[in-house]
Subunit: 464 residues, 4 copies
């Protein structure tokens, strides 16, 4: 028996007193600020964060911000932030490496989304699958090979935590380049499903109030953004028994009309796709509908963008992906002292995972990790998403069981495509990449058109 | 070492002198006449053919014809033909059972093809996959369960040779009902590929003239009508080396325009789909293009029927499936003696297979048979199509090896659907059948439309 | 993320306030007293324990003791103990079923151990494998079928916790009879390995003192009593790095002579076999040496009993298995009030597992459970031993990875034998059981002798 | 359909008119003379045989003999024989390579057999498994790596036909060194089983007389020298039905006493082991008893050599393996013209296989070949023995199905050992080799003795 509570540390705390975290993509204003927030509040680990970014200026500003924040009142962590000009330096001797790479140049987004649309192929996110996902994969692979090679050379035993999409392909590329790497990929989408289930628990279980999403114990299986949940418990209550009731209340699906969400956020999500998948396949789709819709050929079989609103979601136009919002202005205010950095509960897990891997507090969460038996009906070694138990120095995926045959069929097709894309990216073989492109669920156009679209995207993105 | 030539029989010929063949669907005018033709020319086996058909009249006429033909000049076989009123009687004590069931009522064809078309789903054949294939499967399963149960009760060791489509589902249903059954399914489509390769040998090998299709040694793998060939030899020459040359000559693909084949046969086939698949995936599709096109979402992604002619094939309208042609009149002429039955080389293998299973002459051909390792990357136990070696009492599939990952992905999706349809048919579970329906390559419409189409077909075909 | 700490219960405690535990083998004086001890100290669960035993008298005494103990000072749990005359009654409506069956009649032990010895086959324990393990399995299977059938009929959703040996066969028999059963098997042996590793941590890690066995995080894989550990961490320290140092210190192996342990306990264990296996195979055998030695043909290849002492263990003579010790006298003193039941820390997990399954406090421990991917290179569905994460209503085995090929070879042979024994026991097929018998590692005698031994044991044990 | 008869060649015969066969071990007096015999009688292929041997003198004599024999009356083949001083020259441009390597120096045999005997480990053959098989494997691997590397460099598309033992390890080493090699291994043992079955057919089938072994159609599966047959047909008669009758007649087994065969040939074989395996496992062991006995721990669990005679076989003493017989004298008589080479029906298949691979006459036989699905329950890629269909340029193993679990267990253990030995041989890792050594069925001695024996053999054979 192994108690899973927080462990009192025996004697010295050397193991946790001088931790180095290398951060690839350290110039970001989203994820980097979250990390600063979380480390500043972490009481039992301290050390150095080495930021690296192709935009060194941005990394340097983040370092300055980080060092300032840890001195703020309310900050308990002792951390030093440094910006490095070389990836090698940033990772050298690191115990942990966090990857959250700056999105690729804006133009690529525009191509990824707008060019396929001229062929009648619409995408809601375009970051994982679909034509956009394929090309994003091909762009990411060389970057992740380089990261893996640097880890092998400069910090071979480090734990690498990836946040960048396409999650599966990036994480898989790390293992392909350096098979002994210790790497996991983290994504939020399943938390959204846990929130939905928490709401159902509140709605249907008499004594349930203020149910926290993280108290919903879910069995997760599949691949990132096309994950599935087939069991959910809240304090001994089987939450799944209420799904049928909820489904009946939501029917008929889809429940909306084109235009219903014209004024809404591009990121709106009503779980209609998740419930429709549950209705047909008996398993709940466990990612946002914008993601789920891209993995099957049906929902995005539309003639013009507004039609997808029938399912309670919107197409994210490429323009919405370019604008960086008010980040830069905010940063200036922070650095000038005009605005104080406000600590919050981030919901991010990276620091908790660091603590778990340091042996401080075991953790169960869902991770993207090579398949070693956790989903025995998917390709061995492919990166899949399931729960894992994280303890000192070990990430052990929890067995999630098999998928129903038809769901497995859909998931496995994407697993195969992603494996093929990694192989194609490593070999520089565009013909091979095209085989995966054809097998993508959204590519149902005539073969000569598919070839033309592929060639057009290759030509446009050759430079990146 | 086992010599594969014809074997001289030692002593008595009891093993082959009194063979009983039960024939389910014995009232047909196509396949039954071929069997009469072939048995009448078979010198080393004799016995009885017991014909059974729901249309007893038709079976009786075929019996009369058969008995008359074996007395004709030029007939060497000694066979008696009998028509039976019960399936049980026809199969009782049989060593062989041939199934070539009368097509289902005409209306079902109309529904199978015309109703999906109103949803924008076009099918070239509609006998194996696509909405038509799904419903044809659901209709066939109860019939094949009954056949298998009758075999178990009346001739448990008989070899069952199936010709009816959907080939995979029918053959699989036999094994599902009676796991110890000895059954194989036979189909012509690969012969067409061998003919194509024979033509290529003639065209590209200097010394090759009059190459016979059956002399092309091919490695076959996949499922019926979605088979693939990855190796072909003619007398030690690797025919595959010429495929690229031929592909280059045929490019660009597709090579036609809508309307190009308006006046042609509905069954026309130019191997453009087969070559396009070869171009993309590196393996030759090994069935007629009308079949191949239905297994992937691309070629039939058309807005109106004539568009498919770009690929050198036509949609077969439901009307073309109803007309039985001049069969009945011909039969009358045969029976009245106005026309003599003319013997021909049928190209059918059933009689050769009977002879092989009787230990007379070993045979290698492609068969549909449960997967016992011949295609190790497809579901174990599913019915697949590969070469097999047929010797006395044994059908041993020949290992065909694995498929490239993306081709496997496409084939396995159909394998899964067909397994699910059999499960659904046995359980009478339409919700389960709908899961396979959604995963069909041609079903890329909105989920609510797919449900409506499925429900409409269920309602229309409930009576059959 | 799912926090793994103890959870505060929201509102009512109905889920944990009226729990029924059925106890098969409830007349025992070992395990039953431990359960009474642990439940009496459990603060957050209460309910009823229904004891069933073929020796009803003994169960009734335990019930009386239990009811008395929970009233004692220091007891915090509210539990009622009842003895039932029928298994059905005891299990009816239970949420948990504990099985710790009285050992079979004394004579069987004598046969299991003494008869094989006349053929030169010596066994150290004879409860899992070897001739004794085979026959014990055959005796246990009918009993476990009956338990499973009773669970299906009277408490189909209950969690069954088995403690009886042969662990693998008993647990597997439960699943074979009732595939939807929720059952796990628990064994102490791995704790002994954790203790060994805790000692190594203390010895080799500078800052380590008083290392608790349960703080050693081990990766466990294999089958019960033939488990292996290939990773061990203590607070971020890799304990495995010290194994080689320790091995060098212990060499040469074996380190003793025949007779060295003549006066010692029959249960003595010096981990020499575990270290010798580590030396050869690179993995640490993770059970007591008395168990490990029986799973391979080498250590027990001896000509007379004392030779095994070279490896620091002794043969347990059958006489040592018969004597029940001072249990009965102690019971009398308890019930007469002459002696007070003294609470202790039992080290048993059953109550902690009950609490985890009720959603109170997650637990990671090693369990015997059907293989669903946790050990992907062993037979799917066979009962294997690995870590598992136990949360509300779920037992999720943790992926343990593959074994080195040669170790897998040895383990898989036992997996196969145990699967065959279950099949043989269910079919009542002694010829099939003999095939497993021959493949047992200790059966290396001439085939005619093996047959004679098997027949002799069958004849002797027919009555049980 | 593919007719399997001899094919008339169209037009020119260039494909078969100038074939080069490289022969490694071409100085032998057994196999080389058989090849000369068979080629001299082969009418439809001609070309050159390039002999290579470490004993060049011997190869040169064989070349001289070969050239003389093809000129003899009665010789129909047109072949030229040449002896080469380098392996590279001999194989350069070859279409076929035959390997039948001179046995290793005499002393190794003595060690392989006599040293283990001092530890109480007796071996009947010592060429495949057992301590002798392990060391013979380790000696052979470097030689076979060199052959494979030479094939890759000098005749990458050649078909390599291996006759050398240990068959599995040698053939597997070829594929390990050069994965694209075309190689098969051939062995006679199954023919002996076919002869046994032919005798049973004659004995039990009324109309059967003079049944030829090659007319027995058997389903073969397993690994070389530990093959099994589970189906056998002769002209439509199931020969397996008579095995029980024959077994009853032969019982009790073993049927002899020590000393019964003192004066007999060391190679005597009465199929008692094969029948005993059939009795226990329901499958017929399909190799000579001298081989079969070495793969399980039972039969050779003897205290002195004569005991094995109870099973109708003898131990072959190392002395019997050294003497080369009257070969040299015979050769002198041939070359001097004192004796005429007499043509015979050799029973060897190599020339028939050459003809099949040239597209002349398809052949079914049993071969040793990497597992690609023919035995789906054994390790993928390991070399296994099953039937195969050999046609122009292709060797396609025929699916043989699975083994009963216990037989699979025994066979798979050897498969694992052989895979490990190849890995150990390639890595030069004796510790790894020792793991296989321990798992060998005959190594049931104490671990410290096993280590001592292994070390002694390593020391003795270091020089070879
Ligand atoms: Mg994400
Ligand atoms: Mg067909
Ligand atoms: Mg135990
Ligand atoms: Mg041999």
């Amino acid at each position: 028996m192994h108690q899973l509570q927080r462990r009192e540390h025996a004697g010295s705390d050397t193991a946790t007193g001088d931790v180095k975290i290398g951060y690839v993509g350290g110039g970001s204003q989203g994820w980097a600020h979250t990390l600063i927030n979380d480390l500043a509040q972490c009481e039992d680990v301290s050390g150095t964060v080495a930021l690296y970014d192709v935009d060194h200026e941005a990394a340097a500003k983040n370092a300055e911000l980080g060092n300032r924040v840890v001195e703020q009142e309310g900050a308990s962590g002792e951390w030093t932030f440094e910006a490095h000009r070389s990836l090698e330096e940033a990772l050298d001797g690191a115990e942990f490496v966090i990857c959250s790479i700056q999105d690729p140049p804006d133009e690529t987004f525009v191509h990824d989304i707008d060019v396929p649309a001229t062929y009648g192929i619409y995408q809601t996110v375009a970051d994982t699958v679909g034509p956009g996902g394929v090309f994003r994969s091909l762009r990411a692979i060389p970057q992740y090979r380089r990261i893996a090679a640097t880890v092998r050379a400069h910090c071979p035993d480090a734990w690498v935590i990836n946040y960048t999409n396409p999650m599966t392909v990036c994480t898989r590329a790390l293992y392909e380049e350096y098979p002994d790497i210790n790497a996991i990929g983290l994504c939020h989408e399943v938390f959204g499903t846990q929130r939905l289930l928490a709401e159902l628990a509140e709605k249907y279980v008499a004594e349930a109030n203020d149910v926290s999403a993280e108290d919903i114990d879910v069995n997760v299986k599949g691949v990132n953004h096309f994950t599935w949940v087939d069991e959910a418990y809240w304090q001994g209550h089987d939450v799944f028994q209420y799904l049928d009731e909820e489904l009946a209340a939501r029917k008929p699906l889809p429940g909306n009309d084109p235009g219903d969400f014209d004024g809404e956020s591009y990121w709106i999500n009503n779980h209609q796709v998740a419930f429709d998948l549950y209705d047909t396949f008996g398993l709940l789709g466990a990612a946002g509908d914008r993601h789920l819709a891209e993995f099957v050929p049906w929902y995005l079989d539309i003639d013009e963008p507004s039609e997808i609103q029938r399912w309670g979601i919107r197409l994210t136009p490429s323009s919405a992906r370019v604008d960086d919002g008010d980040g830069p202005a905010k940063m200036e205010r922070y650095l000038s002292g005009d605005e104080t950095f406000e600590f919050k509960e981030s919901g991010e897990e990276a620091v908790d995972i660091v603590r778990a891997l340091l042996g401080l507090e075991p953790l169960k969460t869902h991770v993207n990790y090579p398949n070693v038996g956790q989903t025995p009906d998917l390709t061995d070694g492919a990166v899949v998403e399931t729960n894992a138990l994280i303890t000192g120095d070990r990430v052990a995926p929890v067995t999630a069981g098999t998928l129903p045959p038809e769901v497995r069929s859909m998931v496995q097709t994407h697993v195969t495509n992603q494996e093929t894309l990694v192989a194609a990216g490593f070999a520089g073989d565009l013909d091979l990449a095209f085989r995966a492109f054809c097998n993508d669920a959204l590519v149902t156009v005539q073969p000569d058109e598919a070839k033309a679209l592929f060639a057009e995207l290759v030509a446009l993105e050759r430079d990146y």
